[in-house]
């Protein structure tokens, strides 16, 4: 065996094999140490080093795909002061497609003020103003939405925006529902996706019962989080109270409306939703 080993490898190869073996040993030790250590790590217990690295990479790729969606929506221009959500709302409600000529004007002024030929050429070659994609062309955003959700199935934003585009801009509510259900399957703890699904049932399908079921599930998931919610999450939480309150009002269910109102009051007493719930509750109680 030893003579076979000696005949197969010369000295430099033996050293290389030794180096690789030591390297592999160190990696295995590190991996074992990290997974068995009794310390608070930022990642979930049981996650392997490789899955952590690959998950982070996938999240970065997925986020860049969503940046692409934003860029496509603005005609290939990166815009800092016009978020995708706001812009979609803007187009859907006002039908307005273009703004931001002031950016181009400012760019030209800077180029002329500084007498900078590089800035001048760049401002001419690359479009500076942005326009919004018209709803009938919104199908152009879908390949990047699919790519973002495939790159990272935990990118909740890709499911939210994708379902919104499919439902509101393309007019395919069933595909939007299927896409959201896929998102919920991949992110069972996300109450935001349940809310998006419930909104489609409520606003598009006019299926109040299915909407109520989904809002109730969203409320349970939201309460199960057991941590302080971010501003965005509070906004979604207040949406749940709003819709559940509205459904309870339409059904004349005073007790449920009162419960919802108390939860909203506890979550955010100065929110407009809480004020609306107060009014609805007073309305229902006065009818009694």
């Amino acid at each position: 065996m030893k003579s076979l080993y000696n005949s197969c490898f010369d000295n430099s190869e033996r050293i290389r094999i030794l180096q690789i073996s030591v390297g592999l040993f160190v990696i295995v030790c590190l991996q074992w140490g990290l997974t068995s250590a009794k310390i608070d790590l930022p990642q979930k217990k049981g996650n392997s080093l490789m899955s952590l690295i690959s998950d982070d990479t996938r999240n970065v790729i997925s986020s860049s795909m969503m940046d692409k969606v934003e860029s496509y929506f603005h005609g290939g221009v990166k815009v800092d002061n016009c978020s995708l959500d706001d812009a979609i709302e803007h187009v859907m409600h006002d039908g307005e497609e273009s703004h931001g000529e002031e950016n181009e004007q400012a760019h030209h002024e800077v180029a002329l003020t500084l007498f900078n030929p590089v800035l001048w050429v760049n401002s001419k070659i690359h479009a500076q103003e942005h326009h919004h994609l018209v709803p009938k062309r919104s199908v152009e955003l879908l390949p990047w939405i699919v790519a973002a959700s495939r790159a990272s199935p935990h990118n909740i934003q890709s499911y939210q925006i994708g379902s919104y585009i499919l439902n509101r801009m393309v007019g395919k509510s069933q595909i939007a529902i299927d896409f959201l259900q896929e998102g919920i399957k991949n992110n069972p703890a996300s109450f935001e996706l349940e809310v998006s699904l419930a909104e489609i049932f409520f606003n598009t399908r006019k299926d109040k019962e299915r909407a109520r079921e989904s809002f109730e599930i969203a409320l349970v998931k939201c309460q199960a989080l057991g941590r302080e919610l971010s501003d965005d999450e509070v906004f979604v939480e207040m949406k749940i109270y709003f819709y559940l309150g509205l459904i309870a009002k339409e059904r004349g269910d005073t007790n449920r409306l009162r419960t919802i109102f108390q939860m909203a009051l506890k979550a955010n007493p100065n929110n407009t939703v809480t004020y609306s719930l107060t009014g609805w509750l007073a309305e229902l109680e006065s009818k009694k």
Binding site: L114, L119, V121, N122, I125, H126, E140, P143, I175
Partner: protein
């Protein structure tokens, strides 16, 4: 004068033959087809009509492949001649070193542009069938500016091949070209926010580095923005001509200094 033209013409023919003999173009065309054909059949959620993504990816490939072909052709011309010693019989003839530089440059540029024509033909065919748009003014401008880009890239590659080794030249050229493509437009703004030393360095880089982003019409083409003014196109092509000439003068200087 006619002798010089004949000499340059002969050098161009040799460069063209060399490019097609090495089959680089066939490789990148096959690679492009392998990557793009499956993409062309993608229909997200079963909905048809999305073509912008395909247009963008195809253009990115045209850009990448054309830059690699241009750098590959230009950076190998002189090192190959020195290695094979074919430069000696060439210089032994009554051909000036300036003519050799000009002939080799035009040869490499013609080869790169011929490859570019193939890439654009494939791009127009694919996007025409996918989106139904066969020609636009912006497409013509993009193609012309792309030729300007190749003129600069080939000149940089050729200049570098006379100053450093082939691998160092290719690496540095690729880094410079892609760095300027990505960050060239924001160098001025970046310089304005830095301290004096960094500001000076960035301003020098802004002044001497090739502004590859000038030639980048992809955004206008992909997102169907209107074409730019032809005056701006002429200005950019003028920049390409001046930049390439300066690079070739530097290359000529180093070739003349070279001891064989």
């Amino acid at each position: 004068m006619s002798i010089v033209i004949c000499q340059i013409n002969a050098l161009i023919k040799v460069s063209l033959l060399e490019l097609y003999r090495r089959k680089d173009i066939a490789v990148v065309l096959i690679l492009g087809a392998v990557l793009l054909l499956p993409l062309s059949f993608v229909s997200p959620f079963g909905l048809s009509g999305a073509g912008t993504y395909f247009n963008e990816i195809a253009l990115v490939m045209v850009w990448l492949f054309s830059i690699f072909i241009a750098l590959g052709v230009s950076s190998r011309v002189f090192p190959y001649e020195f290695e094979k010693r074919t430069i000696y019989p060439l210089l032994a003839k009554p051909v000036g070193r300036g003519v050799v530089i000009a002939g080799r440059y035009l040869g490499a540029l013609t080869a790169a542009v011929s490859a570019l024509c193939l890439f654009y033909a494939a791009y127009v065919l694919l996007c025409g069938f996918k989106q139904g748009i066969w020609f636009s003014e912006a497409l013509l401008q993009a193609f012309i500016l792309h030729i300007g880009l190749l003129a600069v890239v080939v000149a940089i590659g050729m200049m570098g091949s006379l100053i450093m080794t082939t691998s160092a030249n290719v690496t540095i050229s690729i880094l410079v070209v892609f760095a300027m493509l990505l960050f060239g437009a924001s160098l001025s703004a970046l310089a304005a926010t830095q301290n004096l030393v960094a500001k000076t360095v960035l301003n020098i880089a802004n002044a001497i580095a090739p502004h590859i982003e000038f030639f980048d019409m992809r955004q206008r083409l992909v997102h169907e923005w209107p074409a730019v003014s032809w005056l701006v196109c002429a200005a950019v092509m003028g920049y390409a001509a001046v930049y390439s000439t300066v690079c070739l003068f530097i290359a000529d200087f180093f070739l003349k200094r070279r001891r064989f």
